[in-house]
Symmetry: C2
Subunit: 125 residues, 2 copies
């Protein structure tokens, strides 16, 4: 029901390892290596179908959804599978087969890292 705000991915904000690939975009110019890493993630979300799939998974109850629940995005089933694979390869989703269905789940740390990239916070820490 209330899947807003109670997602498991918003819990870890304390002192957990979040794999900080890069500093905020506004902190200093990215190196070529940092840009390569970060661009891979942005690129994965740079397609409308993938963005809808990712959003569908992320907003689903428990931050997890089976393909059957999110595959109504206007493209064929193989295309859905193709995009889910891309999101998985980009490290944004993980998948797990449980019986008949395959469940996809967001990677909270990556989402947090991406959000930090776009943070304008001075963060003089």
């Amino acid at each position: 029901m209330s899947n807003t705000r109670v997602l498991p991915l918003l819990e870890p904000v304390g002192a957990e390892a979040v794999a900080p690939c890069c500093p905020p975009l506004t902190e200093r110019p990215f190196t070529a290596e940092e840009a390569e890493t970060a661009a891979r993630m942005f690129k994965a979300l740079g397609d409308p179908v993938r963005l809808r799939l990712f959003s569908a998974v992320a907003s689903h109850e428990g931050g997890e959804a089976c393909v059957c629940d999110i595959s109504d995005v206007g493209v064929s089933q193989p295309t859905v599978s193709h995009h889910l694979k891309k999101l998985k390869d980009a490290g944004l989703l993980t998948s797990e087969r449980r019986g008949t269905w395959v469940y996809y789940r967001v990677e909270p740390s990556v989402l947090a890292a991406m959000g930090r990239l776009l943070t304008i916070a001075p963060a003089a820490s």
Copy 2:
């Protein structure tokens, strides 16, 4: 050239107020229209060269830099111009010619809207 243009990511709702194009990715599944808008922005940052250029501008003094200061990213000058144009078309940068040089500047509100997309925190900001 023009410094005031309608940014794709923001919908003007008043004199100065702007509203984000989309809710956080985790709030609810994106509609096709929202995904189209947001994906355009992610796509613009989905290239390493563009990401470096954007980061270079965003981290430069005053959030502004001339092309001559940021064009050392390993590609030819036409390619740099090509990518800057893409970032501009995506609404992430604005440009202005002052004498000999052309200065690019980040759009803070757009950056904030992007960050909000990836924010898991509740809306009570």
